[in-house]
Structures are given as C-alpha cells and as structure tokens.
Symmetry: C2
Amino acid sequence: MEGPHTRAVTSYRAGVEYNVFARACPSRPLLEHVTGRWGGLTLGALVDGPLRFNELRRRVDGISEKMLSQTLQALERDGLVHRDAQPTTPPRVDYSLTPLGRETAERLLALIHLLMERMPEVEAAQRAYDAR
Amino acid sequence: MEGPHTRAVTSYRAGVEYNVFARACPSRPLLEHVTGRWGGLTLGALVDGPLRFNELRRRVDGISEKMLSQTLQALERDGLVHRDAQPTTPPRVDYSLTPLGRETAERLLALIHLLMERMPEVEAAQRAYDAR
DNA sequence: CGGGATCCCTGCCGATACTG
DNA sequence: CAGTATCGGCAGGGATCCCG
C-alpha cells in the first residue's frame, strides 16, 4: 500500500485511516451503491433535474420497480438523493440529487463519457482478443 | 432522453446512437466490468505500476484467485489491462494498465477520492435516516 | 401513481482440488 | 508461481400481487 495514487484513496478521520482497498473499509458499501448495477445509472438519470418514480423507471431501461425502489432508498440513506413526497391523492414523489449527489454523478458521468467515446477502441481490443 | 447531460452520455458511431441508459447498449458490459465489485479496485491497484498476480491479490483485499483471474481476463479483453507473460519456470506474469486503462482508472479514482473525503457527511446522513 | 410484500430462481462467488 | 476446473450456497434481483 504505497505510492502517490494509493495515498489518494485513503483518508484520515479521527485518527483512523480509511483505505478503500481494505475489505473492512466502511466506504465499500457506499462505493457499491454508487457503482453497483443500478446506482450509477439512477444517479446519472437525475442529473438533468428531478424526476418522479415512473419517469425514472422509464429512463433507466430494464430496472424493475423493486430494484429502483431499493436503489433509491440506499442512495437516500447515503445522502446522495433527496426524496420529496407530497401527501396528495394520487401521491406525488419527486427525486432529486443533493449537492453531494450531484458531485458524485458528475464524476460518474465523466467516467461513463470516457468509456462511451472509446467504445470503438474497446470493441477493436475485444475482436483482437477473441481472434486468438 | 433529453437535456445537456444525458446527451453527454450518448455518442454517435457509424450513424448509430449509443445510449448507456438503454438496456441493450453495448457499453453496459464494459461499464459493469469497470464499476463491478472487483473491476474498479483492480484497476485502482494497478495505477502505481505493474504488479504480478499474487501481488495484486494481496492488494485487493478479499478477492479470491478465481475472481481476480476472471476480472483480469475481462479487463484484458476490453483493452484496459495489458498482460505480459514470460514462459520461464517458475512463470512470471506482469499486469499493467494500457493508456485507456490508465485514463479510466484516473476517473474512477477521482470518484472514489470524492466519496472517501465525504464519508463523514455520508455517515451523518445515514444516522439521520436511521433515526427516523 | 408510488411503492411494499412475497415467491422463486438464476448466476455470482467462495472453497477446494489439481496442473504446468 | 500462476493459474484452470468443478461444485455448491445463498443472496441479488425479476415477476407478480396488492394496497393507500
């Protein structure tokens, strides 16, 4: 665990060093919420502004009601998503990003954008690998 | 599917629009390799320089031989990791990042670094959520 | 519309054993 | 050392039903 970059993924708090590479690091669950199968896409879908439950569901193609619900709950608990429920009939619930959620989504989109741009390069690498 | 940010996660190639939010987008598997449970940590571990199989295994705490092997194969096929095998006895294999792998790892570390820094904020949000 | 509860199954992943 | 092969569990997640 040395070098300038690995130091960049550790941080001190109350005298305890947190290290993402360690199995027991408390940031692991958060990282999994953000980078998990649906977390990133859900955050990304909210970057353009608040959305309601079923709007979100249509944007994130392929997600089930249950998984969207679970994903949103986890992200809300982590303080990345704000949930605004109005007790009307029919109920109306708006989901939006918190400031931290927005910063997270932006870095995530920077990653996604890079991968999208380089897909031709990736597909070429895959063909070369498979040809062997 | 509108707005400046969603446009940022689509790209054109050969007249076809790729959209990460779509279930069938060919970049989904790539995204899952990179942001999956072990992909990101493996890429992150290689940022400081080449590592051998068991060095990598010790760095990425908790990964099994099987998962490290599978993860490296997927990342190699995607063109993010370079594998250099020397046919000596005992065998020596070095893993390193390709240029694209390095760019990817840097954006990933930017995300991880943000989350690490803000862990106190996240933990406070979790306590507030659980208190309800 | 916005979810919660339940059922069920797939496939992810860990453990173990073996090879060159 | 650097892996591959095989087995099995159990939990992630999809489908469905239901309610306010």
